[in-house]
Each structure stands twice: as structure tokens, then as C-alpha cells.
Homo-oligomer: 225 residues x 2
DNA sequence: ACCTGAACACCGTTCAAGT
DNA sequence: ACCTGAACACCGTTCAAGT
């Protein structure tokens, strides 16, 4: 029965990986995620790309959840935060711009983070940074934490809409005529320019500016400047 | 071969639904989603709950994507927005508080929206409202659109973290000792009070206040009040 | 028009077996 | 210690058939 067994590197497997390792699994997993999206990231598909049997993965990874989290962590861990110097506004802006850039470089990551039950520990790093920066600027521990949630939901959400599209495939100008929206046409929306050519960079910077201005207004008055 | 066929209402199927319909499918689907989460929302599982064969669903629903979107739409469509009266701040606050309340009432919805490629048309309703309110307050079409993205990412993201937890199962006090975080302990985070007893309502209101203050500051000076 | 039943190509994962 | 192969309990969906 065991005739020849020329499995390794056969077929579509582009990785002729000599040795299987957790790092290698994560690397190729991220590649699949970037190229073909979350739905393509299956254990069987990944194993095939590595030229290996599905069950071989389980020697380096506990289960699918562990795998997904490891891939997400590999992106988040690679973020380089700018040195925490200067005005607190600049510190926070730099921190969340770095997060955004990292997630945009690997578009599937946000989806992966969103569908994860447990997040990798490294997400606590920007949180700790934000808390340090804001408490030093005079915010209470509580307000600083609230501000972090505000900043992280905005940052990740924005990347999410940018990468997967918002209302993709729906034309607001005709949605009403086709009877799909109940309450009339959407003239403002039609003229908003929100579409495939929307400038997400500018949109992010606008939101960031608003948030930082709002946080400044929430700081105790003596430290507001 | 066709011996008795006592299928309907047998076993665990709690719905003895006389007639299958799109509305009924969506209703029971939302029930499953609320009770057991997105992963339990499969066509086969749903069909069983309806006391019907999986393929019966396909007479009322195009595919899984269509089903998911219909369920999400049923939640979003049910949102009642407060009358657009009073100060623009109050209008926007009311609008997004309504969205938040609706999503919190059906915790799986955010997950469903996040993993949908195409969003239901009804998401354009709060968008149109936001644009109307803000342009009336003096904002440019572009800034109003940016402000909407800011508000919606924050609102949905916040609900997402609230329902699925943020860093659930990770203790920031010990993450470092266990070697899972690279850059030292997280004293600020430990003392932040962010945990299972975190007050998400207050957190949302804080963020909303910041955002509205920030938007106000971005309005042209003559309409800022 | 609506539903069933068998089938297909996928999943994640267990378990016993090989080296 | 690491990998394979067969198997199990699931998926979404097609297709031919029933009423």
C-alpha cells in the first residue's frame, strides 16, 4: 500500500518548507489571510499550502482559535510605537496611527480580531501606553480607560470599513426606488461622496482630531492646555 | 420506504411552525443568534429548529449571506430614532443611543454586521440623518460624512467589546510574569478597573461626549454654538 | 410553489498508528 | 517528538425527485 509517498512540495504547495514550526505556520497563515481573506484561512487549506497533513499543524498549535490568535498577535506584536515624547496629543496620535498602519498592511487582521473571543495579550500594550500618557496629562484612571476604548474602537472600526467597504454594492440613489429603504430617498448621502473613492486617510485624521479635541475638553481645566 | 414521516415538530424543534416564511426564518434565526451566538447560526441548525429540512430554507432565502443580512436587517430596521428636533448634539446623541440600545438587545448582531460583506440598506438611514443634522449645523458634506464614520465605528465597536469582552481571560497583572507580554508589567492597566465589572454605559457616554465636543470644534466658527 | 433526500465538496478535530 | 491516515460530526449547497 505505501507505494511512493511523494507528498512534500507536491501540487500547489508553494512552500517546500523543510521543517514545520509554529512561526512558519503563522507566517504562511498570514499570507493566506492577506491574499484570500478570513474564509480561506482553514486548517486544511493552510496544511496544503505547507505541503503537510492537516493534523501535522496540531503539533504546533492547540486548535483553530489558538492559530487565529497567533496570526493576529504576529501583526500586533510587530507594531512599532513611536517614542512617547512630546505633547500627549502627539503621543496618542502616533500610537494609533501606528496601529492603523499595521492593520492596513494586513487587511484580514481586523476581521480576525473582531471574530476572536480572546485577544492576544499584546493589545494591552497600546492600552497601557494610552493610560500612562493620559494620566500624566491629568486625566483620571477611569477617563483614561474610557478614552482608550474610544480611540481603539474608532481606529479598528475605521480600518474595518475601509478594507471591507461600507454599503458596498448598494447605490443610495436608487435604494429607495427599488423599495429597499422605507423612508424616502437619501439626497444627502448621494451627494456625500462616500463611495469607492472615499479618502479614508483624511477621514481617519478628521476623526482622530475630533477625539483628541474632545478628550482635551474632558481633562480637568488646569491641565487642559 | 416512505413509512410514516412524522417530521414536523419532532425532537428538539420547539417551533411547530405551520407555514414556513422568510419572516419566520429570520425570527427564529435571530433567536438562535441571541441565545447561542453566531457560530450556532447554521442553515442546518436553523432548519432543525424550524422542524424542516435544510433545503426548505432555500425557497425563502438565497443563501447563507442573504440569511445573515436579513437577520441583521431585522434588528436595524426595528430601530426607532427619536424625532430630529433640538440641538444637533442632542439629535446625534439620540440617534446613536438608539442604535446602541438596539444592538445591545441582540448581542450577536454586531458580530453579524462585522462579518457581513454587504450591509443591509437600512444602515444608510442613520447615515442620512447624521448628514442632514450636521450640514444643517454648518458642517460641510465631507466633514459630516467623516463625523458619521467616527460615530458609527465608535458605537458599534463599543457594543462589540461590551458583548464579547475585551481581553477576556487575560489578567494584565500577570501577563508579563507569564512571559506573554514583552515589555514589562502594566501597572496602569491593572489599576484601571477595566474588567468584567466595567461600566460600559458610562464609557459610551464619555466617548459620545468627547466626539460631539470634537465635532463642535471642527465646525466653522460662526455655527459652533 | 414548496418541500424532501441523497449527494458533493468542504470544515475542525479525535484517535490509533507509524517513524 | 513529530507526522500520517482513517474516521466522525459537522458545514453550505446542487440536483433530481416528490406533492
Amino acid at each position: 500500500m505505501p507505494m511512493s509517498r511523494p507528498r512534500r512540495g507536491a501540487g500547489r504547495a508553494k512552500e517546500a518548507a523543510a521543517t514545520l514550526s509554529r512561526a512558519e505556520i503563522v507566517r504562511v497563515g498570514l499570507e493566506i489571510l492577506d491574499r484570500e481573506g478570513v474564509s480561506a484561512l482553514s486548517t486544511r487549506r493552510l496544511a496544503a499550502a505547507l505541503g503537510v497533513t492537516p493534523m501535522a499543524l496540531y503539533n504546533h498549535v492547540r486548535d483553530k482559535t489558538d492559530l487565529s490568535r497567533a496570526i493576529a498577535a504576529s501583526v500586533i506584536d510587530a507594531i512599532v510605537y513611536p517614542a512617547p515624547k512630546g505633547h500627549w496629543r502627539a503621543q496618542l496620535a502616533g500610537c494609533f496611527r501606528a496601529i492603523r498602519a499595521a492593520c492596513l498592511a494586513h487587511p484580514g487582521t481586523v476581521r480576525l480580531i473582531e471574530s476572536a473571543d480572546d485577544l492576544p495579550e499584546s493589545v494591552f500594550l497600546p492600552m497601557e501606553r494610552t493610560l500612562l500618557t493620559l494620566t500624566a496629562a491629568g486625566a483620571s484612571q477611569q477617563d483614561a480607560t474610557r478614552a482608550f476604548y474610544l480611540l481603539i474602537t474608532f481606529t479598528l472600526g475605521q480600518v474595518g470599513y475601509q478594507t471591507r467597504g461600507w454599503g458596498k454594492g448598494v447605490d443610495p440613489a436608487t435604494a429607495f426606488e427599488r423599495g429597499r429603504i422605507a423612508s424616502g430617498p437619501l439626497p444627502r448621502l448621494v451627494r456625500s461622496g462616500a463611495g469607492s473613492e472615499w479618502d479614508w486617510d483624511a477621514s481617519f485624521e478628521f476623526g482622530l482630531k475630533c477625539i483628541l479635541a474632545g478628550i482635551a475638553a474632558a481633562l480637568p481645566s488646569r491641565s487642559r492646555k
